[in-house]
């Protein structure tokens, strides 16, 4: 990890490297690993960050999308409940205000009022009038509760205190869940009495049913103590304690995540009632509501994994290509360096040879003239005993001078050709001249060198010194390959668009394996003696001059190298 951080800090340091350093294959492996790591890090870190952010953003968006309707639904339902309770309370309150105590205490009148109430508002079960001492003075309803005293009940105390009271759901004397709505009224003469109605909780169930929730969802009313006010599917029946702790109090509809007692991940939407001791709760399992989210999450994961795979593959491929290019460039550079070195060496040898040739030419001319003069004088003399013998000596000296002349002129020619570039040249003359350099060695080793030049050979436009180098290389190789007394045949033939020259020897030949590498730089079979550059330089020159070079060889039979050269040169070379 530290290494990666270091790499990120100095990403280019590794890539710059030391140019002149010898490049080992391990270094390329290391470099490759580092480049890949860098590329992967540079792409995967933003990708991962994006994927994670996307994940959470999506999750939140999805959750909000599910929670919002739930919140709205809870709010609406809460309002329905509040409206329901407010309506009922004000109905009772209205009746308490509209009628006198005497009227309400009248059994028949109360019965009539109750029947109107029941007709207009659903949910009323009974109606009772209670005096200030808590005794039920009058009662209409399905039970016989007349004369019952409520003085010590909590709701009585509350209604005396607050004037209005809506109870929790409870069983009471009636043995079914109900809610009491009680209103206290005060007459002008200072008497107080209480009108009390009972509501059955079927209405509550109806309001909840109107939420039309999905089967696995649940909605119910709980009071401040956590007692169920309506039945729930999963969390207990009416008046049972709700099976999870109450959420923190808020009048705003709120959604929280929680794990319910059944072990499901659920959304709990709830709201406390400001005017009554109720909490409306709706529970929705997350698994069902988040089904879309899960598919989205799957897609996200798939895209991420695919992205990572693509990045990895691309990084590998790009790096491999990069490294390969680098390697090639390195090799080419190395070869070019060696080539320059080689040709510089040749050129300095050439200059030295030229210097020597020049210096030797002048004394050679003197010898030539002096001996010539001797010959002239001898020719003019009449016969004398030693004349023939002397003349033979003089002729011999002149021949030696002629030989020296041949050598110095060839040396000068070699030097001259180091500088000249593209020109019109006679290839057979060039081949002959170049072969002349090795004539001595060939003679000593009794190697038969045959030059088979087509007299119709066209002149070509090419680089004399480079071609000389090429043929020198080829002849040298052939000479190195043949045994003493072997054969070398140089054939030059016109071709449709140029010249084909082949150098054939009957030497040792080479194996398939050697043939494969023959033009590679630094490949040599002359252990310790060769640079391994000869043929690769030759190859480079021939390619630059627009030609082709090929090799055929049979082990033990011989080797033939064939070069084709174009008649003219492309503009770029001129």
């Amino acid at each position: 990890m530290r290494k990666l951080a270091d790499l990120l800090k100095h990403p280019l340091r590794e890539l710059q490297g030391e140019v002149d350093e010898a490049v080992s294959p391990e270094r390329y492996t290391l470099l490759r690993r580092k480049i890949i790591a860098l590329m992967v890090a540079a792409t995967l870190i933003p990708l991962s960050v994006m994927a994670v952010l996307n994940y959470y953003e999506h999750q939140n968006a999805m959750a909000r999308e599910i929670q919002n309707p739930l919140r709205v639904l809870v709010n609406k339902t809460k309002n329905s409940f509040e409206l329901f309770l407010a309506e009922r309370t004000s109905t009772v309150s209205l009746i308490a205000s509209a009628y006198t105590y005497q009227e309400l205490a009248d059994q028949q009148k109360l019965a009539r009022i109750f029947s109107v109430m029941k007709r207009e508002f659903e949910g009323f079960v009974d109606l009772g009038l209670i005096d200030e001492h808590g005794t039920q003075v009058n009662y209409v309803g399905p039970y016989t509760l007349q004369g019952k005293n409520y003085a010590d009940q909590r709701w009585f105390q509350e209604v005396r205190l607050k004037g209005k009271y809506v109870s929790d759901v409870f069983m009471g004397f009636r043995k079914f869940p109900h809610v009491i709505v009680a209103v206290q009224h005060m007459t002008e003469d200072g008497r107080t009495w209480i009108l009390r109605a009972t509501l059955d909780t079927k209405q509550f169930e109806r309001i909840i049913a109107s939420m039309s929730l999905e089967p696995d969802a649940d909605a119910f009313l709980v009071n401040g103590q956590g007692l169920m006010q309506t039945s729930s599917n999963n969390y207990g029946k009416v008046l049972e304690k709700v099976s999870f702790p109450l959420p923190p109090m808020t009048y705003e509809p709120t959604v929280v995540n929680m794990t319910d007692p059944l072990g499901r991940e659920v959304f709990l939407a709830y709201a406390y009632f400001p005017d009554a001791d109720f909490v409306l709760m709706a529970v929705k399992p997350r698994s069902s509501s988040l089904k879309t989210w899960y598919t989205v999450r799957g897609d996200l994961l798939f895209i991420f994994v695919a992205g990572v795979a693509v990045v990895l593959i691309a990084a590998m491929r790009v790096t491999d290509a990069l490294i390969r290019r680098m390697k090639e460039a390195e090799d080419r550079r190395e070869l070019a360096l060696r080539e320059v070195e080689h040709s510089q060496k040749l050129s300095s040898i050439g200059r030295l040879a030229a210097g020597v040739a020049h210096e030797v030419n002048n004394p050679l001319a003197i010898i030539n003239e002096k001996t010539g003069l001797m010959k002239d004088i001898l020719d003019m003399q009449g016969d004398f005993p030693a004349k023939a013998k002397l003349l033979a000596q003089v002729e011999s000296v002149l021949r030696a001078v002629e030989r020296c002349r041949g050598i110095t002129h060839r040396m000068l020619g070699f030097a001259r050709r180091m500088d000249v570039s593209i020109e019109d040249l006679d290839l057979s003359e060039l081949i002959r001249e170049t072969a002349g350099f090795l004539a001595n060695e060939a003679m000593h080793r009794k190697v038969d060198v045959q030059l088979d030049m087509d007299p119709e050979l066209p002149r070509i436009v090419s680089d004399r010194s480079q071609l000389q180098q090429v043929f020198l290389n080829l002849f040298n190789n052939a000479l190195a390959a043949v045994a003493d007394g072997g054969n070398i045949t140089v054939t030059a033939r016109p071709e449709s668009d140029g010249v084909r020259v082949s150098v054939a020897d009957n030497g040792c030949g080479m194996s398939e394996e050697t043939l494969k590498h023959i033009f590679e730089p630094f490949f040599t079979t002359k252990k310790g003696k060769g640079t391994g550059l000869g043929l690769s330089i030759t190859y480079g020159i021939i390619k630059r001059l627009g030609g082709e070079i090929s090799v055929e060889s049979t082990q033990g039979v011989g080797t033939t190298l064939t070069i084709t050269l174009p008649k003219g040169q492309r503009e770029a070379l001129a």
């Binding site: 020049h358 030419n361 002048n362 050679l364 001319a365 003197i366 010898i367 030539n368 003239e369 002096k370 010539g372 003069l373 002239d376 003019m380 001078v401 002629e402 002349r405 002129h409 000068l412 001259r416 000249v420």
Partner: protein, 152 residues
């Protein structure tokens, strides 16, 4: 070719040039010898040779300069360059400056003699062409004089 060819040999290598002069004399060619460029130019002023055999690398005024000057002042003199140092460029320059031939030392005497004779022939031909032109001009002048005389 009955007339003796008059040669001027210019070379700083006395040993060489003196011997060459002697050999030329044996071949019926009278030759003067100069050992440097200045002397050669002086000698040309005194009496023009037919053919000049010139070395290139000499102390003082070098062969190329001598060639240039000679060809300017005495274009009729044919110059054969004979040098041990010559490069391809030198040869090209000399031929452009109007040298008759270019030889590298050491040179075979027969070849040099052949070259000198060729140069001399060339000189004679040039002289004849020049003379013909001059004659033609004379004729033209004469014609014009005649015509002008007729008008009168």
């Amino acid at each position: 070719m009955s007339k003796k060819i008059k040669l001027l040999l210019v070379d700083d290598e006395e040993n060489f040039v003196n011997t060459l002069a002697e050999r030329m004399k044996m071949r019926d060619m009278g030759s003067d010898v100069a050992h440097d460029g200045e002397t050669a130019l002086e000698m040309i002023k005194d009496g023009t040779p037919d053919v000049m055999v010139l070395d290139l690398r000499m102390p003082g005024i070098d062969g190329v300069e001598v060639l240039r000057k000679v060809k300017k002042s005495h274009p009729e003199v044919q110059v054969i360059v004979l040098t041990g140092h010559g490069s391809e460029q030198d040869q090209e320059v000399c031929m452009q400056l109007g040298a008759y031939e270019y030889h590298k030392k050491p040179v075979d005497i027969d070849r040099l003699v052949k070259s000198i004779k060729g140069a001399y022939r060339q000189k004679m031909e040039d002289a004849m062409v020049a003379a013909t032109f001059a004659e033609a001009n004379d004729h033209e002048d004469a014609d014009r004089v005649m015509r002008e005389g007729d008008k009168k």
